[in-house]
């Protein structure tokens, strides 16, 4: 276990270094490099520009610049936003709660529905329900999230007028839980659809695999009831590989959140990202890109370690 742990942590560190290299490369790919925004200002003379380039350290060799940048990244010194001069890390953390609320609510509902439908699909393989779920899941995985959101707004906000078309709460109104939940319902469902489909498919596949094992046949032969077999014998083992799914799904969930937040004017990190592109706010863009990538690396590492802790077969292979 200790060997597995060490190897897995080391791998994650290497990936983090590569991720930061990737981010650094992209930052310098930008037309004009990181100082481009100043060059656009009409009040900047060539001498000003030169001085600035020197001050920002952009005249140093690339590898030195990278080390400086990476050191800043590691010490929470992520620079300042071009837009309003605020500290990047602060700009990002301001937006985290809204994104977390959206992602967590979508995630928890998706896991519940996904597990339930996946189990039924596996137990009643080839039934009408199973076929319908397969079809639904495939379509759900193929629908563009932004369009699904648009259709949700059209039906529930425009035609039926039962739900608000966007924002995190009624503007100007004091905080009220009911109001917040009404605003959360559409965006969370939009984001959750793809997750339900994935969880349902994985649960089904995992259950089918376990149901085929010898010990399930033994339990059947001993006369254990079908319900007890499914819930106690099969489900317990089928859930283990699903631990890693949460980690694997994270990048897609972030992407989905970005699109969902844009459509529903939800004040989260994804929307901040889209706005920052409009302002060419590179420090914030890079900050969010690095922040999400680091979360993904950490999430995958955590999922793998939990997996190894509960399933000894993993760490010994």
């Amino acid at each position: 276990m200790r060997y597995y742990l060490a190897r897995r942590v080391l791998q994650a560190l290497v990936v983090l270094v590569l991720v930061s290299l990737g981010g650094f490369t992209v930052l310098h790919l930008a037309p004009g490099g990181p100082a481009a925004i100043y060059a656009m200002s009409p009040t900047m003379s060539a001498e000003d520009m030169e001085r600035l380039t020197h001050q920002l350290g952009l005249d140093q060799p690339l590898h030195l610049q990278y080390f400086k940048w990476a050191a800043g990244l590691a010490t929470a010194n992520w620079g300042r936003s071009y837009r309003d001069g605020r500290v990047v890390l602060e700009v990002i953390t301001d937006r985290i709660p809204a994104t977390v609320v959206l992602m967590l609510s979508a995630f928890s509902v998706a896991v519940l529905i996904g597990l339930a439908t996946g189990i039924v699909s596996a137990v009643r393989q080839y039934s009408l329900f199973d076929h319908a779920m397969t079809l639904t899941a495939m379509i759900a995985l193929s629908i563009p999230t932004f369009w699904l959101g648009l259709m949700g707004i059209y039906v529930f906000a425009e035609l039926l007028r039962v739900l608000p078309p966007g924002n995190i709460g009624t503007i100007g109104a004091p905080f009220a839980l009911g109001d917040r939940l009404r605003h959360l319902l559409l965006p969370a469902s939009t984001l959750g659809v793809v997750m339900v489909a994935t969880w349902s498919r994985y649960t089904r596949a995992s259950m089918l695999e376990v149901i085929g094992e010898d010990y399930i046949r033994t339990a059947l032969a001993k006369g254990v009831s079908r319900g007890a077999i499914v819930l106690k014998h099969a489900l317990k083992n089928a859930l283990i590989p699903l631990v890693t799914l949460a980690g694997l799904q994270l990048p897609l969930v972030f992407s989905g959140a970005l699109v969902t937040e844009t459509i529903f004017t939800w004040p989260g990190m994804g929307r901040l990202f889209v706005d920052s592109i409009g302002y060419r706010d590179y420090p914030v863009l890079m900050g969010i890109l690095m922040f999400t990538a680091m979360l993904v690396v950490a999430g995958n590492l955590a999922a793998d370690l939990v997996y190894a802790a509960i399933d000894p077969r993993v760490r010994h292979s």
């Binding site: 991720v19 972030f254 592109i277 993904v296």
Partner: protein, 277 residues
């Protein structure tokens, strides 16, 4: 194998749909009732089946059906082109990593992990914002963010194949690494590459629609299914058809390619089919 594919009914329906979409895109010029970029403000938001617009007109009075057909050209060609680049990059990296192993393998694997750590839309938007959008640049940036899955699939296949008798035999006869890869290993990966390719088309069409919708992809007046939805949200009350039809097209195309990939996978690996389908 073809019989096994045709038994997968959704896949057969999907192939038909893809052929229809492809023909629609190919003959967009002839099938379109109007010029897709012709602006006619007197036809602004004409409802479906009025003023000669089978699927209505948009905010500038342009014919929605004509735009859908022409947009199909763009969206499908970006999808196919990105698939080719994705598959070539993925297959080359995957086979080298799987066959050479050692440091090269570790490096490719970690690079794959690193690229998979970036949420795809974030990565695409950053790249798209830096590069002037065109068909070629869209193809490239979609491929840059999509090759990882193919690399992993091909690498896995090569790893299981490289110790098989026919490869060991070829090596014993003195075949070079390049010859073994090209003559012996590659032909055996064609199956999974076909699966990966169809799934890559689906992914590319979807990603193109996301960036074009957000305004950083294909630029108007050129229509793509994604950018036709750009302002759709503001016209819900007056012209819902502007928002509905492009989304239906994207969903149809992406679902079809996904189902074909699924059917191919089942046909290639019956064991897999029994466990899943």
């Amino acid at each position: 194998m073809s019989a096994r594919f045709t038994r997968h009914r959704p896949a057969v329906v999907s192939v038909t749909l893809i052929v229809l979409l492809g023909l629609g895109a190919l003959f967009a010029g002839r099938l379109s009732p109007r010029d897709p970029v012709y602006i006619d403000l007197s036809h602004k938001f004409a409802a479906p089946f009025t003023k000669g617009h089978p699927l209505g007109a948009d905010e500038l009075g342009r014919d929605v059906l004509s735009r859908l057909l022409h947009a199909g050209r763009i969206s499908l060609s970006v999808g196919l082109a990105a698939m080719v680049v994705t598959v070539v990059v993925g297959a080359v990296l995957g086979s080298i990593a799987g066959y050479v192993q050692g440091v090269v393998d570790t490096l490719v694997l970690r690079l794959t992990d690193a690229m998979l750590s970036f949420p795809p839309i974030f990565m695409l938007l950053v790249l798209a914002a830096f590069i002037r959008p065109s068909l070629a640049s869209m193809t490239v940036i979609i491929s840059v963010t999509s090759w990882m899955d193919v690399t992993r699939m091909v690498r896995g296949q090569i790893l299981t194949l490289r110790e098989r008798e026919f490869v060991v035999g070829a090596r014993a006869l003195g075949a070079t690494a390049a010859r073994i890869l090209v003559r012996h290993l590659f032909p055996n990966t064609v199956g999974i590459i076909a699966v990966a390719a169809t799934l890559a088309v689906a992914r590319a069409i979807l990603l193109e629609s996301y960036i074009s919708f957000l305004g950083y992809g294909i630029q108007p007046p050129l229509a793509s299914w994604g950018n036709m939805l750009n302002n759709a949200q503001s016209y819900f009350a007056t012209a819902p058809w502007v928002a509905i039809f492009p989304g239906v097209m994207i969903t149809l195309a992406v679902t079809s390619f996904n189902f074909v990939g699924d059917g191919l996978r089942d046909a290639l690996d019956p064991r897999h089919a029994r466990a899943r389908a």
